[in-house]
Amino acid sequence: MESKPTMTTSNLVLPKKPTGLKRFGIKLLEQRVLVLMSVPFLVWLFIFKYMPLWGWTIAFQKYKPAKSFSEQKWVGFDHFNFLFQDERFIRVLRNTIAMSGINLVLGFVTAITLALLLNEVRKVAFKRIVQTVSYLPHFISWVVAASIIQTTLSTDGIINELLLWFGFIEKGNEILFLGIPEYFWGIFGAGSVWKDVGWNTIVYLAAMTMIDPAQYEAAEMDGAGRIKRMWYVTLPGIKPVIIVLLIMNIGYLLESGFEPQYLLGNGMNIDYSENLDIFVLKYGIAQGNYSLSIAAGMFKTIISFILLFGANNIAKRLGESRLF
């Protein structure tokens, strides 16, 4: 009752502003080209991202590929029980989260630092060279990268040679880096940074070009040196980008990658190298136990979903820019 008068008044002030479905229809008509353009992508999204969700039913069956849906045997939460009760699962989960965490922290810190430094370089030629050199490893496949890392760390590799040369170790006592389980996370972290640091700077460098040069000039007038300008102008300038990327990456916390662990892992470092994906490969796919793979996949999706929304929510409360 109360809203009616205001409605009429507004109708009087702004003649005939359509509401509800009608307004939607008019907007739709106005933007028909845009809508049409997005249709294929919506269809793609539906087919490839929503339809497969039907496959989640497999997690609750003892799935046999040849049988039709109605012939499958339903087993409830059996596969989830197997997953959660296996003692290795905790270890595998720990490794996954640890390696993701290392990747996340190291990835952000190194990429932002490198981007800040590159941004300060005034010699264009030098900047270009540094950028190209740091991008390059990104384009090497992990198979090749893992071989490079293995060779570098082998008993007759360059690191052991250097240690020998400096006298830190004696001949015959070369360190078997990939054979010491505790070293694995470090090796993984360093390898990932080497491979991706350059690539990760791109988005920050792009964000930095958006900062109004007037701000730097003003800061300089106020007597801010290079470090101060980096701290008070550049960093706040790219903060929204950092936060959005952070939220997105937190959503991927259970995706610590597959190739580096699979290729660098061996029997000796398995306690630290085996992550969720490798576990699923070994006990799910390699054994034809698709149901277990799906159960693990579901688990990952749900956790990622919670993490993503959680991080987004925190950002929202802190009044920071966010994903949605």
Binding site: V33, N266, G267
Partner: protein
């Protein structure tokens, strides 16, 4: 006016652009939907093909048997790596096509077998004929192979003749035959003169320097290596390496079984009197073997990178001339050995670095390194549910199994790739042997036909000639270099396999070939056992000598968590079944 027309034109252009954009979008969308629907169309037409074709051919068969219309079937090979090819592009395949009118388009595996086969299963679209190799359990599970019994009954007199004695072993649980294995013996068994199976290998120069001693015990073998490395301190030699990479880990975990005098039955040792299967991964044999490696490691004679090196690094080490000895299967390090042999052919002084196989056991007991004439039951070629004309394929396969075609498949064409002397013995001249290199194998078709089809896998033709040219003594002798003959002569043997004891009869052999159901307790046991051994073996070998027993206890504790008794019981039962089937 001018402005107005310009504006109009502009508007027109803009409209056109808009229309174009829309069209592009629509086109993209339509291509997309078309791509989606194309698949289903294919699926729709196939069955009708399948129902039409057999009729045509059977009609053709009853009316005029000879001029068959030409067909091409698809053939997927999940095990070998070779160029994809049409069989009728090879000499052998062309002759067979002239006989049957059938051509096969061979596709080889690229990438990961399980992924490839998994995709086939998920889409329910298979090649007409396939060799799923290690993924065969998945294929059978998915019901992708058709039962061959009726087809063999109707079209396969030769298949019956060659495989008949194995039919009982080939039957699946439901009593039907779904695929044709390859390792069937025909006629008299002739052992391979080369060592393609396991052995302890050592560089030839080591034996030469030691005066060609007879080495039969593990201690003698390690002493041989120790002495040699000590005498050549300045060469920075590696005493022993061991292959551990990924699934090839068995090259490190199998030796205890061989050292105890048993052939490669996989995870078990089968007692020859009670026929009980016992695992050996945590028994005294394995302890003794690992203790020996531990000892070697303490003396700096074992390369500890063995546990982190991958397969390529391992092969590279073997060709580096630095590694004195190791255990492995001939087929597994064949690439390295061939490279060394080729170098020795060019330059006889390089012969020192070629590896020589030795029948080493713990205490010099009778060795069983040579494969008994076994029958691998879980590998083979099957016809899939997607096959358009299974009858025609079975006829082709049956036609392969005549003596004439087996000679063609294995030996080639008389006067071209082999000769026959006046006593009826088949042989190859030196020129023919030189001619048959890898490119020739591909062009002629040996590469594609010498295995991976129903065939006479081993044994002899009715006239006594060996089925495989490599096993024919006349051919083997011609393939030896002067240096080869010299070292064989020193040991008083004519072939490498004569160094080893003859294999005992083991009707179940190989026990690793017993099919296991996907995700069964046996499979999970094997996976877990692999994981535990891969974790503890390095620890045991690299531990300080004094700590060895302590680490061994830890290993036993971890190993005891597995339900090994159930695995052994299951294997014993399966072996009993196989023994009964072979009677």
């Amino acid at each position: 006016m001018k402005v107005l027309t310009k504006m109009l034109r502009l508007k027109g252009v803009r409209k056109k652009v808009r229309k174009k954009l829309l069209l592009v979008c629509l086109a993209a969308f339509m291509i997309f939907t078309a791509a989606c629907s194309k698949n289903s169309n294919d699926g729709g037409t196939k069955p009708s093909d399948a129902t039409n074709k057999p009729k045509e051919t059977t009609e053709a068969k009853t009316e005029t048997p000879k001029p068959l219309d030409k067909v091409t079937f698809s053939y997927f090979n999940g095990v070998a790596a070779a160029k994809d090819i049409n069989t009728n592009e090879t000499t052998i395949g062309k002759i067979l096509e002239d006989q049957t009118g059938v051509n096969f388009k061979i596709e080889h595996l690229v990438g990961d077998l399980n992924t490839k086969v998994g995709t086939m299963i998920a889409s329910n679209a298979y090649p007409d004929v396939m060799i799923p190799d290690a993924a065969i359990d998945k294929i059978l599970d998915a019901g992708a192979f058709i039962a061959l019994d009726d087809l063999i009954e109707q079209y396969g007199p030769n298949i019956k003749r060659v495989y008949g004695q194995y039919f009982n072993q080939m039957r699946a649980e439901d009593g039907k035959i779904y695929f044709l294995p390859f390792s069937n013996t025909v006629g008299e068994y002739i052992p391979d003169p080369n060592i393609n199976q396991g052995a302890f290998w050592v560089q030839r120069r080591v034996l030469k320097e030691a005066g060609y001693p007879k080495i039969t015990t593990l201690d003698a073998y390690t002493d041989l290596i120790k002495n040699f490395v000590e005498k050549h301190k300045d060469e920075e030699l590696t005493g022993m390496v061991s292959l551990t990479h990924d699934w090839r880990f068995f090259a490190t975990s199998n030796p205890p079984n061989h050292l105890a005098g048993y052939p490669n039955d996989g995870n078990v040792i089968v007692d020859m009197t009670t026929f009980e299967a016992k695992t050996y991964a945590a028994d005294d044999n394995t302890k003794r073997w690992l203790k020996k490696l531990n000892e070697l490691n303490a003396e700096g004679l074992f390369d500890k990178s063995s546990f982190v090196d991958n397969y390529d690094q391992y092969l590279a080490k073997l060709t580096s001339h630095k590694v004195v000895g190791f255990f492995d299967y001939g087929w597994q390090f064949g690439n390295a050995q061939n490279a060394l042999k080729d170098a020795a052919k060019q330059d006889p002084t390089q012969d020192d670095f070629v590896y020589f196989p030795l029948p080493v056991t713990f205490d010099g007991q009778k060795d069983q390194y040579l494969d008994p004439p076994g029958f691998v039951k879980n590998r083979g070629l099957g016809i899939t549910v997607s096959a358009k004309d299974a009858a025609r394929i079975v006829q082709y396969l049956d036609n392969l199994l005549t003596d004439e075609n087996q000679i063609l498949q294995k030996w080639g064409i008389k006067g071209d790739t082999f000769e026959v002397d006046d006593k009826g013995r088949m042989y190859r001249t030196a020129e023919q042997i030189a001619k048959i290199d890898e490119p020739f194998n591909e062009k002629f078709g040996f590469k594609y036909y010498s295995w991976n089809w129903p065939l006479y896998a081993g044994g002899s033709f009715p006239d006594g000639n060996s089925i495989s040219p490599g096993s024919q003594p006349e051919v083997f002798q011609l393939s030896l270099t002067e240096k080869d003959k010299e070292i064989l002569d020193k040991y008083g043997v004519k072939t490498y396999s004569e160094m080893f004891a003859a294999p005992d009869d083991r009707p179940w052999y190989p026990a690793w070939g017993i099919p296991k159901e996907q995700g069964s307790p046996q499979q999970i046991w094997e996976t877990k056992k692999d994981e535990i051994t891969k974790k503890y073996f390095p620890k045991l070998v690299l531990a300080k000598q004094a700590d060895f027993d302590k680490v061994w206890e830890e290993y036993l504790a971890a190993f005891s968590k597995l339900d090994t008794a159930a695995y052994e019981k299951w294997t014993t039962e399966q072996i009993k079944i196989l023994i009964d089937a072979a009677k």
